[in-house]
Symmetry: C2
Subunit: 272 residues, 2 copies
Amino acid sequence: MIIGGGEDRTDDKTVLTRFVEMAGGAECRFVVITTASRVPDKVWEMYDTAFADLGVAARKHLHLDSRADANNRELVAEIEQADGIFMTGGDQKRLMAIIGGTLADEAMHRALIERGAVIAGTSAGASAMSNHMLADGKTDLHPEKGAVHLGAGLGLINRVVIDQHFSQRHRLARLLTVVASNPHLLGIGIDEDTALIVTPGSGIEVIGDGAVTIADGRDTITNIADLPQHGCPELIDVRLHLLPSGSRYQTGEAPAPLAHFMHIVTHRNTLS
Amino acid sequence: MIIGGGEDRTDDKTVLTRFVEMAGGAECRFVVITTASRVPDKVWEMYDTAFADLGVAARKHLHLDSRADANNRELVAEIEQADGIFMTGGDQKRLMAIIGGTLADEAMHRALIERGAVIAGTSAGASAMSNHMLADGKTDLHPEKGAVHLGAGLGLINRVVIDQHFSQRHRLARLLTVVASNPHLLGIGIDEDTALIVTPGSGIEVIGDGAVTIADGRDTITNIADLPQHGCPELIDVRLHLLPSGSRYQTGEAPAPLAHFMHIVTHRNTLS
């Protein structure tokens, strides 16, 4: 479950409610990883209240403040036993610097693949889910060569780059910068209080308040490779898809222009 | 010459300089139509100064404040003799209510087609150039059924809808609303201080500070027809093109995904 940040935590809680349901309901075990945040206790308090409101009894705070924490078997056991794992916002680079390649990282992959646990990430936690992560980037009116930097993410999902707070912060130009420079990666922009639910091997669904934007640059003709830094590229033939809340497709049943996206997100693949 | 509004009038004057050059240079006759504006004298003063700075001696102000004015042969003669005709910003509905279907309207068409005069429109003057004109519309984060209204424009260019102040006012969502509802029309978004130069039968060029965005919805799969008013449509496969300043193509030489756009804008056609 990839959440675009700013999901409602006090009123209707559409996104968090679905997260609890998908993980198996209020009786299941939930863990909240606040490693991305500089104010982990404050963030935890917010989610603690929200999950308590949703009837969740077994809720744990895992800050994992260092790589030693992220390799601590006792702490990692919380991930190994969780049905629902939630990564909060903050800074995705901080999240990766601390848990990338640790036992905690491994435990999340196993939880998803072997046990079918539900992993949710919001804001920075959403960006960190892909193998190639949008680490930072200028939000400007136009795409700009060199304005966006990728980093290594968790690789829970591959061949995509995820951006969040997407419509609210007008981030299409920076997502177009990514796909112009990396046409083998699909750009996914997720709005606030909106989630893209990916069920491996099965399908996708968009829930919440906004929409998911997909930018497919595989056939795009661009001069970006030949531009100087900070130049604005010409882009011809970017395929754009907008999936508002309520969009829902099973693998194999989506319209043809979505087939590649569906394949990429619902199948595990070894290509980065 | 279709200008996205806010073109520089005091410093480098890139766009206005090119307008003067295209019309044949400072010795030619220029007329400024301020009908769209509620403060025509103020707007005229600004362009009067700008064109004087560019060495233009024969510069005339045509406010055309009523349909009687727009059918007044003496006033219309100014258009008939002009090498460069410039329509200012304001409200495109006001412009059309006053000059649509008048002798002034006819004189502009003849000037363009028979004499090869240069017609420029900025902001409201740009929107009014197409046959189907973006009359008004909500600028929101997402496309929305019913949020944009088209009206009848001058038809100096057909099968397109032109929006202006495009990147600066984050108007992609409203342009997508237009192409989702009217897939036979191409959406053209022009940034401030930026112009799309269309040379009939010959080619296109983008000049100025920003870019021109083209949204092609001919192959888009959407549920907009079945949505209630104000619903956010699903859009699958919108073809997006971004042509930054400096982009320049001759008819027949543009990359294949631009061929339809090139044909539409450089050829006169009777289809609306």
